[in-house]
Symmetry: C2
Amino acid sequence: MEDSINNTFSALADPTRRAILARLALGETSVTELAEPFEMSMPAVSKHLRVLEHAGLIERGRQAQYRPCKLRAEPLRQAWGWIEEYRQFWEESFDRLDAYLKRIQADESSRKKKEKRHAGNKRKR
Amino acid sequence: MEDSINNTFSALADPTRRAILARLALGETSVTELAEPFEMSMPAVSKHLRVLEHAGLIERGRQAQYRPCKLRAEPLRQAWGWIEEYRQFWEESFDRLDAYLKRIQADESSRKKKEKRHAGNKRKR
DNA sequence: CGAGTATTTAACTCTAAGGTTATATAACCT
DNA sequence: AGGTTATATAACCTTAGAGTTAAATACTCG
């Protein structure tokens, strides 16, 4: 389980493999067709597929001499879930921006009310 | 940009680094404290931190002889966004289940209405 | 300044990852 | 059976990753 997320993330760390997944999102296809866009040998692609399969990100069938590959998104769901836990941290900046805008607004209105306060109004960073 | 997602995913592929991020989610802290839970040397942890920093997942400050680390979630947001694109694929099974349940329900009611239709009612898979 | 603490860098080892070419396997088609 | 197509495996090379220990650096404090 812990292991599976390792496999997922390390599978996703390679651009060739991400491209393969992107292609598979359009639909099941053969190894040869998957290999076509890449400037690398078939065995290299075959290895990438093995990694993806091992990570559970693809399934392979058999259809005549073809071994069609198909996306399996379950591990992506897990990875997504892991990252999701940190969501508050990237939304924080929006919160800060929001808070900042609110402060600005407050300043605007208080400046209108009492014009006396001068500009050097430092805030904690 | 393409590169940065490589760095993010490969940084996340290591359990030590994920644990470090989890710790940092609780708040900024020193390298020594980060290293404490792990059975590995300081230089090893230091290297992990360098990887995380290079991926933009942490920031480091200076405070006396300490070099406090702090979570930076922006790359997580990107990674999350990348995975998010595949969301429909892991939700598909729920959709299928949903569709299945609807079919069952339909069958139930139609069975009640006209009891004549027999069971071998194949559907496309 | 000099000792102590926190952290990084250097130099090295070991294993795994990603690629290659050449060869094997599997199923198809006469 | 024998040739063709699709894919996988074997054996190999090169580089990167994760660890180690030992030494350097960057501060603090008395």
